[in-house]
Amino acid sequence: MNRPIPIGTTVVMERTGETMEEMYVNMGPQHPSTHGVLRLMLKLDGEYITDCIPYIGYLHRCHEKIGENRNYTQVIPYTDRLDYLASMSMNFGYVLAVERLMGQKVPERAEYMRVILAELQRIASHLIWLGTFGLDLGNFTIFMYCFREREMILDLFESVTGQRLNYAFYRIGGMPMDFPDTFLTDCQAFLSWFKQRLPEYDAIMTDNVLFQKRVQGVGILTPEMAVDYAVSGPMLRGSGIKWDLRRNDPYSIYDRFDFEIPVYDTCDVWARYLVRRKEMEESVKIVEQALAQLPPGEVMAKMPKTIKPPAGQIYSRNESPRGEIGFYLISDGSPKPYRYKVRSPAYVNLSALPEMLRGCLIADCVAVLGSVDIVLGEVDR
């Protein structure tokens, strides 16, 4: 129910004759459902939200300034910590930006490794989103189920990179080392296990009438607004716009794989939920195809000892689980970037939150915020 109320009006209750004024409620930086240190100032008229003012910056760690004082390879571990739930995608975006700036080609096997790891990371990120989204709405079981599957992915990543989180595994020019011998069988075992789990998630969430009633018709973001706010990723596809950078602005070897782009046009939280739920299935398909096509060979191109891209600029964009992650690099020919800017999808998607919350009930705030899928690490950098 979206009830437009001009801000500042005094509502007179017909029955009792009392007047209600606007009230401010602070959803403070410490809150179990804000997915990080986010402060939302909600302007309420009774239970209806008339406006929402997000305050960010609690996790600002001077990422861009640090990037200007490190050489290009040293920035890679910092990119992990941007969107720490999708570190592989952040690494991927950054090394792709530098390689585009240098015109560097990457060996075939490294390209396949990158796609496999990025898509497994997409599944892991969507699992966290699904688990915490359900948890916010009161469904504890889905949280446990999702994190069980995510542990299997983290075990895979640990066997490849040595790390469970913050892998720093991509390098400019390829990958630092090859997959271990056990990876192929382990990954296929995980995928066959995971495909059987997806119907379980459906039984708990997608087919659950209680869940549907809470998310359908809530948090509307029309396609025109979505484009005006430049949202990306599942938020854009949940508003009916078929735009996925893996298809529309292809990078790496995504054009060799056969996968669908799920799009739903109800523009509400339900649509975004379905988009991410479907994307997990599509990522499984991509990983299966990539594992089948994985060529032998080296994984790192011949790179100079110091990486010094030619002077120039580039804005390079990738499809991370949250949307369009863009890296804007200015190089002046030295080993350190002159200007390094990160265009993070959650930052831009969060700016559309006031638009979506206007007219919602306060109980819907958590559902809408969960559907934006923010990670404060990349919002604040």
Binding site: G57, H60, C62, K65, V227, D228, Y338, R339, R343, Y347
Partner: protein, 185 residues
């Protein structure tokens, strides 16, 4: 519209304001003077570049620069627009009334570079606290709390013969500065 056509139309309409312009593949790269930047942006939006990817600041020592990255969801054209801004008085007209997405990007540019956006509906800092003084991403930003980055491993090695002597007067190898404890800072 095709990239070449966009560039030609902009050059035709805004002649002297366009200081540089070229087409690289599907991307139009432009440099425009700040006086006409809002009109150029309005024209670009009307030509079909409705998706505002990014706005970033850049500090070239002689001047600041605001960089716009635009694209379209319907065709492959991209535009990379650079607007140099005077360093002493960096003011540029806001494009938040053309693309809503520019709102938060411009706030961040103001926060970190100090570029003021004329007509911005909510002109305040976004990432840093409201009472922060200074604009950190400028190249001449100083703060006594900034620890200079040391290239560990690149210092002079202490000669082995004198390393064992107590009270050696040679310079000891540099140790990394210990970060302040969060509870004591």
């Amino acid at each position: 519209m095709a990239p070449e056509e966009i560039l030609n139309q902009i050059k035709a309409r805004f002649g002297e304001a366009v200081t540089e312009g070229e087409v690289k593949g599907v991307e139009v790269r432009l440099t425009v003077k700040p006086e006409q930047s809002w009109e150029v942006c309005r024209f670009l939006r009307d030509s079909g570049l409705e998706y505002f990817n990014c706005l970033s600041g850049a500090d070239w020592m002689t001047h600041l620069e605001v960089v716009y990255d635009l694209s379209s969801l319907r065709h492959a054209t991209k535009v990379h627009l650079r607007v140099p801004v005077d360093r002493g008085n960096p003011v540029i007209r806001t494009v938040a009334n053309i693309w809503r997405s520019a709102n938060w990007h411009e706030r961040e540019c103001y926060d970190l570079f100090g570029v003021r956006f004329d007509g911005h509906p909510d002109h305040r800092r976004i990432l840093l606290p409201e009472d922060w003084v200074g604009f950190p991403l400028r190249k001449d930003y100083t703060d006594e709390r900034l620890v200079p980055y040391t290239d560990y491993g690149a210092e002079e090695k202490v000669p082995k013969a004198e390393a064992g002597k107590p009270g050696a007067t040679e310079a000891k190898p540099l140790k990394p500065p210990t970060p302040p404890h969060p509870a004591t800072a």
